[in-house]
């Protein structure tokens, strides 16, 4: 389990990194935290011709709070995100999900941008970003663009990023008033990729009705899945145990078509979607300040 040989570059700036990626025309792979790429290389499942190591690019590591929300540099370590007060205040959903990502040793090295660009459908961060409707800033030698989370994840380990393009920043809007979030997952063991996970953002209006509900599920498709039907069920409704159950049912039956694998059958995943959606919505509405009636 030793990696195949590769050419190695360790640029100090984003510009240098982009130039290297462009020069190698898709044969070079950016190396972020390496916590998914290096295992794949050790198994020789991945054999990049060249690696452009982003770990020396200081300008990509930051967490900032501004009027427009929270911005996080792509090379910010997951551990830093987890421990950031700015994140806890500005993006509590992200803060809640962070400890579910693998283990501290992995989060010390793994980066937020690396995980998003890797786009594993079982990973926590893509679903969280989808629920938060995050904006991804990407750069290449030809310029810069912003990609909404809903357009970023294209499929199994696939994103909208071009081979010579780097994800440089994640932007999170401020949470509207009377919002509540929740992250839940069922994993085989603490720190494992989830069998099913869910990230929820709900917002109430002045009358206590659900103004918006963004529900993102992980490990139920070839990327994070936005439970649109479940969200529709709730919009305009006063949250109640019945409404939440209906939304959970919609999520499980209409929003997902989960895969079967050695860890969970499709039917079991569907069940988990229903249960987790119900539990996460209950929690999120409670946090948003809703007074729910009935047992959920």
């Amino acid at each position: 389990m030793k990696p195949a040989a590769f050419e190695y570059f360790a640029p100090a700036t984003v510009d240098q990194a982009l130039a290297l990626l462009a020069a190698h025309g898709g044969e070079a792979k950016p190396l972020a935290g390496g916590q998914s790429l290096i295992p794949a290389m050790n198994f020789r499942l991945a054999r990049p011709r060249a690696l452009v190591d982003l770990n020396r690019i200081a300008e990509l590591s930051y967490i900032r709070s501004a009027k427009g929300g929270t911005t996080i540099g792509a090379m910010t370590r997951q551990r830093a995100v987890e421990q950031s007060d700015v994140v806890t205040r500005g993006a509590p959903l992200l803060a809640e999900a962070m400890p579910a990502i693998a283990h501290p040793q992995i989060r010390n090295r793994g980066t937020i941008g690396g995980s998003l660009a890797h786009a594993d459908p079982s990973a926590e961060l893509p679903a969280v970003m989808l629920a938060l409707d995050a904006a991804f800033r990407a750069r290449s030698v030809t310029g810069e663009r912003t990609i909404p989370a809903s357009e970023f994840f294209k499929g199994m380990l696939e994103t909208a990023l071009a081979p010579d393009e780097l994800l440089v920043e994640i932007g999170l809007r401020p949470m509207p008033d009377r919002s509540g979030t929740a992250f839940l997952e069922v994993a085989r063991r603490h720190g494992d990729y989830a069998l099913v996970g869910i990230a929820v953002v709900v917002t109430l209006d002045g009358q206590g009705r659900c103004k918006a509900a963004r529900i993102a599920l992980l490990s139920v498709g070839d990327g994070p899945v936005l439970a649109v039907e479940a969200g529709k069920t709730l919009t305009g409704q006063v949250p109640s145990a019945e409404m939440v159950r209906a939304a959970a049912d919609a999520a499980a039956t209409r929003d997902v078509d989960p895969p079967s694998d050695i860890h969970a059958s499709a039917a079991y995943r569907r069940r988990l979607v229903a249960v987790l959606t119900r539990r996460a919505l209950g929690r999120a509405f409670e946090r948003a300040g809703a007074t729910q009636r009935g047992r959920s």
Partner: protein, 780 residues
């Protein structure tokens, strides 16, 4: 004579820990030698295929590659391995020996079987060169399923055999048919147990160095059996046994598979080192470990229990299939253990057990911690659970009614054990152990009050209690040499290797107590054939029992020598001498006397005459071989809570009442049990090797093969009981495998209890949340 310092029975802190904790302990992969070469193996991608050609010419020209060997390059050295454990003489036994080969020649019989060996300047380059080798193979349908293996028309794993039958054996006691005819009820079920890996965190490794000047081969090997490896290598390579030194230094977990022999790598690495004249290292990587290191636990049982109305067992019949994998070098140890362990602590007057071992296109099966005992316990314990339910008898009560009573020992079960000796339990006292377990877990109150209350509140809580016995400490023998050095420190050499069981401490305790020295002053050397070269190895929970007894005997002899010489030196009768604090003194004169080191010097005079017949030194070598194994026993109890919505299971409490005879070091025994229970929980709920129909393993990584972690296993509350074994001077029985044995049966019972009312029956291990969900959803 008095011992002032009791060592046996104390939780002495371990002698080996400082080395391990600071990173100084030597493991095989730590060996670094000048000019050392590194090996990677090209392994079969097919579970079953006809191998037509292997072209390594391109690999041989890659820079950094020193040699590439295929089966044809081995010449006369290519030969199938030995039958390591010949089966016991069971009447009517059928056994077809098909042992593993060093490199595949005509046929590929499991994924991961080695085809070619690349030797290069680095492991990285060796792996690069694997891509250069061109293999032509014609895939054949794979034999994966146990039942299909015996069906007509199924392809044969071994062409020279008429079918995939590896073995067939029937053992009988009494007359089951008659018992069945008399039964009030017969409980019959089909049970399955599936495969896992042993998953020692250290993978296997072999380093070999040939010294042409001394004409000596040194092999560092992660084996549990260095002496048999040495003897075998000498024979294979045409060397004297004394020309081969095998060292099993610190070994990072064994659990059974590290005693397989000879792994292809074990015979190839030394051969290559001699041929190339340079040291050669191979370290298995984790991926290889999933294919190339032996595994266990695939069996299917059709079993029935004949009981009276009050739950008294009249008899058991069990017919089972055992998956032996692609080869069967380890004989029938595993299925015979299943067959024998099923009888448990119960008085079962009539028993009929028949098994068929089958070849499949999967990794070889040899013992893994528990070694087939799990299956037997699972079958009998589950049958008792169903009988209890049907007869409306409490689960603990039905067990109690059938336990062997203390006066029935020694108890002859009238069948043969894996060591070819009769399965006779040496000693046991089972009912108090059951009582203690029930008391500690508060069974009565839980079942009577707490469970109904929690159930009423919508909680799904369950309790389980299972009993088991374990044949341990089998022969043939082990030895030990004890030497008092002039420094006063004591050197103890024994042949069994150590994989974490605390041998450096337990053996030292035995010797320290006999010689009146500190445990830390006894320097234990294990697993180096240059230091001790008689013995078999660490397996079958036998280290403390068999090697420990040899240490005891050797220390007793040295003690005699000490007293004899001291009596002469101090001019006192031996009966008046006291051994303590590393000195011998006359009773009542603790400041006088003579230090052991000084005595050791006197025992080895450089000039002058000695009396005829005098042996030099304060040294003795002794051997111990028991007539048969000693029978350890125990009761495990567990509380669980199941979330029926998500099929998640939480273990709330885990109680073990364990009887391994004399406990030499309670701390170490508890550690063994805790680790065993964790292993058992892994088997029960996390670990399962998943093969597809082509015999491809779908989860060959620690990402997908789930070992339990710190958040998955409970604290184990352990209570020791000591029913001494009459078969060895220490009164000891084995403990290494104990924790892992009843866990599957216990888990199934407790989870089923938590879901009582659903009609769910758990007839298989391992479970998983997804499987549990499926079972819960299944229409009944």
């Amino acid at each position: 004579m008095t011992h002032t310092q009791r060592q046996i029975g104390e939780s002495v802190r371990r002698n080996e820990d400082a080395r391990l904790l600071t990173g100084r302990a030597l493991f095989v992969d730590d060996v670094r030698l000048d000019g050392m070469l590194h090996v990677a193996f090209l392994r079969s991608q097919h579970a079953h295929a006809r191998l037509s050609s292997v072209d390594a010419s391109a690999a041989r020209t890659r820079p950094g590659v020193v040699a590439v060997y295929t089966a044809s390059d081995l010449g006369d050295y290519w030969r199938p391995g030995p039958l390591l454990v010949p089966p016991p003489p069971i009447a009517g036994l059928v056994f077809n020996t098909c042992t593993q080969v060093p490199l595949a020649k005509d046929k590929l019989r499991h994924v991961g079987e080695p085809i070619a060996m690349v030797v290069a300047e680095s492991r990285y380059v060796a792996e690069d060169a694997l891509d250069d080798i061109v293999v032509e193979a014609e895939p054949l349908p794979a034999v994966v399923d146990l039942e299909a293996a015996l069906a007509a028309g199924t392809p044969r794993v071994h062409d020279q055999l008429p079918s995939n039958l590896a073995a067939h054996a029937v053992q009988r006691k009494g007359d089951y048919a008659r018992a069945r005819a008399q039964a009030h009820t017969v409980i019959a079920r089909r049970f399955r147990y599936d495969r896992g890996v042993s998953a020692a965190i250290e993978n296997r490794a072999v380093v070999a160095q040939w010294d042409p000047h001394a004409e000596e081969l040194t092999v560092w090997d992660t084996t549990q059996a260095p002496i048999p490896i040495r003897n075998g290598l000498a024979q294979l390579l045409g060397l004297l046994e004394s020309q081969v030194r095998v060292v099993a230094p610190f070994v990072g977990g064994g659990f059974g598979p590290k005693i397989m022999m000879y792994y292809p790598e074990e015979v190839l690495i030394p051969w290559a080192a001699m041929r190339l004249g340079r040291p050669v290292k191979w370290t298995e990587d984790r991926q290889e470990n999933f294919f190339a290191t032996t595994q266990e636990r695939g069996q299917i049982h059709d079993a029935e229990l004949a009981v009276t109305k009050d739950g008294t067992i009249l008899g058991v019949r069990d017919v089972f299939l055992h998956d032996t994998g692609a080869y069967d070098p380890y004989g029938l140890t595993v299925p015979i253990n299943s067959q024998c362990t099923l009888l448990g602590p119960y008085d079962i007057p009539n028993y009929e057990s028949e098994f068929t071992a089958v070849f499949t296109n999967k990794t070889i099966v040899t013992p893994v911690r528990g070694a087939g005992r799990q299956h037997g316990v699972f079958v009998i314990e589950r049958l008792l659970d169903f009988a209890a339910k049907e007869l409306r008898i409490d689960r603990a009560e039905i067990r109690r009614r059938n336990l062997l009573r203390p006066e029935q020992f020694p108890f002859d079960n009238q069948i043969l054990f894996q060591d070819s000796a009769p399965l006779t339990y040496d000693s046991g006292d089972y009912e108090p152990a059951l009582d203690t377990a029930l008391e500690v877990i508060d069974y009565k109150r839980f079942v009577g009050e707490e469970q109904p209350r929690l159930r009423a509140a919508g909680r799904h809580v369950g309790i389980g209690v299972v009993c088991y016995v374990e044949g341990t400490g089998i022969g043939p023998y082990e030895g030990a040499r004890v030497t008092v050095e002039p420094s006063g420190r004591v050197r103890l050499a024994t042949g069994v290797g150590t994989q974490g069981q605390g041998h450096f401490t337990v053996f030292a305790q035995i010797v320290a107590e006999a010689l009146g020295v500190e445990v830390s002053d006894v320097h234990v050397i294990t697993g180096d054939t240059r230091e001790f070269h008689w013995g078999t190895g660490t397996f079958a929970s036998r280290g403390a029992v068999v090697a420990g007894s040899a240490c005891h005997a050797a220390a007793a002899r040295v003690r005699e020598k000490i007293l004899e010489l001291a009596s002469h030196e101090l001019e006192a009768a031996q009966a008046d001498l006291v051994l303590e604090g590393g000195r011998v003194h006359v009773r009542g004169d603790p400041t006088g006397g003579i230090a052991l080191g000084a005595l050791a010097l006197k025992a080895n005079p450089l000039r002058g005459a000695v009396r005829p017949g005098t042996e030099p030194g304060l040294e003795a070598t002794a051997y111990f071989g028991p007539d048969r194994g000693s029978t350890a026993s125990g009761v495990h109890a567990m509380l669980v809570e199941v979330d029926p919505e998500t099929a998640q299971v939480e273990i709330k409490r885990y109680v073990v009442v364990h009887d391994c005879g004399r406990v030499i070091n309670p701390m170490i025994v508890e550690g063994q049990i805790q680790g065993g229970v964790a292993h058992g929980i892994g088997n029960a709920f996390y670990e399962q090797l998943v093969y597809d129909d082509e015999g491809q393993l779908l989860n060959a990584s620690f990402m997908d093969y789930l070992l339990p972690t710190a958040t998955d296993v409970p604290n184990v509350e352990t209570i020791h009981r000591e029913t001494l074994s009459p078969l060895n001077p220490l009164g000891a029985k084995g403990v290494g495998e104990a924790g892992a044995i009843p866990t599957g049966a216990l888990f199934a019972q407790a989870v089923e209890d938590a879901l009582a009312g659903s009609g769910l029956e758990i007839l298989e291990i391992p479970l998983s949340p997804t499987r549990l969900f499926e079972l819960m959803e299944r229409p009944r």
